[in-house]
Symmetry: C2
Subunit: 381 residues, 2 copies
Amino acid sequence: MPAFPKEEFLGRVDETKRRMDAAGMDCLVVIDAANIFYLSGFDAHSAYVPQALVVIAGEEEPRLIVRDMDVPGDTAFMAAKHIHGYPEDYIAHPRSHPYDHFGDLFRAWGIASKRIGVELSQLDVVSWGRLQQALPNVRWPDADGLVTWQRLIKSPAELAYMKQAGQIADAAMRVAIEKSVVGARECDVGAEVMAAQIRGLPEFGGDRPVTPHMPSGCPRVAAPHLAWTDAKLAPGTVTNVELGGFRHRYVTGLSRTIVQGTPEERLQRLHLATKEAVDTVFDSVRPGWTCEEVEALFRKTTRKHGFEKKSRVGYAIGIDWTEKTASLRPGDLTVLKPDMTFHLMAGMWYDSWGYVLSEAFRVTEGGIESFSRLPRDLFVK
Amino acid sequence: MPAFPKEEFLGRVDETKRRMDAAGMDCLVVIDAANIFYLSGFDAHSAYVPQALVVIAGEEEPRLIVRDMDVPGDTAFMAAKHIHGYPEDYIAHPRSHPYDHFGDLFRAWGIASKRIGVELSQLDVVSWGRLQQALPNVRWPDADGLVTWQRLIKSPAELAYMKQAGQIADAAMRVAIEKSVVGARECDVGAEVMAAQIRGLPEFGGDRPVTPHMPSGCPRVAAPHLAWTDAKLAPGTVTNVELGGFRHRYVTGLSRTIVQGTPEERLQRLHLATKEAVDTVFDSVRPGWTCEEVEALFRKTTRKHGFEKKSRVGYAIGIDWTEKTASLRPGDLTVLKPDMTFHLMAGMWYDSWGYVLSEAFRVTEGGIESFSRLPRDLFVK
């Protein structure tokens, strides 16, 4: 069953068609798996082979082209006749390519000489060559970001999932804090954390999670994007946990640092500086602020304490984690509007140590509101 | 700490250089995250931003270019001077692109007018344009598959990890069978399965797992690549579990079907046909067979029972699951040699039902050997 009612999807597709019209496109080839999910609900974990959603200006429902075996499952909202499987022979074939079949379909649909937008940053160079070869009369405007930017403001139904995701993230982080004890293997903590992400709450379960980042100890804790090892947590070990709550692919990010025993003084200072900056952002930011103003406030606050974050302090979040649209960084003039959602990611890393604190938030009518209820603490065991 | 000793990586890099030389390349830009891991050990979950490993013919160690924050962590084997971070300013910047910085580095390294192989099927169209623009005097031969095919035959150290992965996969599948009971929420079973994948064994833990496929009930069970839902398992429900054991990114795939109560007659027949075909493959296949001969034997055996698999019956497996090299399918003339590893994936899916049975195997001197010890049963609860 699709994750949203048909009307929700049709509304999204209508808006996409408006954007296509404004950009001078007759059709749109959507390749980004998150965008395919957004416009259709299609939820198979199958993007490792070519697939696409095709939005045609004059048609109500988009058409999905996927590998034959991925047609069943009833996750996309469209009528069965709009879900096209390509033969298994195209998979891993030395000469033929699934896009050859796309060419045949596009000709059958009468769109083989139209202006067809395509998400070029989602398409590899080899496939792009095959697609152009299969459809030599198509004009291919770049449609990068067309659907992704449409996702910036969330609907009530999307926000409902993100609120559930927020509860799941809190539950999983509580497990991370509880299970991180001296003597525990890092992988055993990781196992409990991912189980909590998937189990979710009694009222609703969690979706497929992205593996949490949770490096422990020096030197791993100085890098943000590592997982566990087999090692046992030792006295003094610092673990930086960045995890998501997942609900029908909607994500809320959440990060906390956990220490086995008294934290080093520099870690305590960085925690206090970061917490003050995050608290200040949550207390101050209003709709109408630009993304770079949010970052500037954060930067000003930590700088008072002698810390400066080199990387952006956040980005739009929604389906499948990062949305490639607005970032909380200098130069980003995107104006915050109600029901935009961001991950305020205030981690800082140095050569041999690091600290993380993050929460996802929604822009409200009067400010911003976290999806998390967890204290902004440095968790000392 | 890198997943292998330095000598293992240097041997791999040497072989890559031999292949580059044969293909007329002075340098190689490796983009596939699995290939980067294979040649360097770099293990951050950071491929969502541009990164590359650059192999230069005259240099012993390759050079890694990653986002600044991903430089620490000590997962790559190379000396620190060979690990280059690009500034955070390039991330999500509307005008500049990390490949602009690659251009500066390549000029500094004196390779800006060389023949540089690049994995074009791993590079998106937009990034490809930026890379060519940044380095207008480079000749760019397509290096697709150069490193990936090198990975086809595994070293003893790789096989050691895959054997451990096989034990982890068996343990996780036993948990799936045990926890799948009438009344259990699918997500709660999924939570236990992923925890088992990560926990691994007391002697060694599991690495980041790919989310298992485990669709339950009609219509989801007719599709191979779906996860769990919140629904509770009901009497008669069929669940098709495809999961991996993961150890330092090396994977062994494993699939079994679980039924709550007496299975339908057609499912029993398909199980017996598939099991006979899989048993026959394990009893018969020897080094020297071609991939298509393996598939033909499988096909002949199930056809006797009135079943025919539409998709390939397997593919090379190693780092990060599927390796894009040999497939067990008609037309693939790759000859099996000792220490190649495959995932024999014998799932079949119909409009409203399906069945799975799979095991990863290693080609030995005298035959093929499964990484799993689990009975090839249809598990009836």
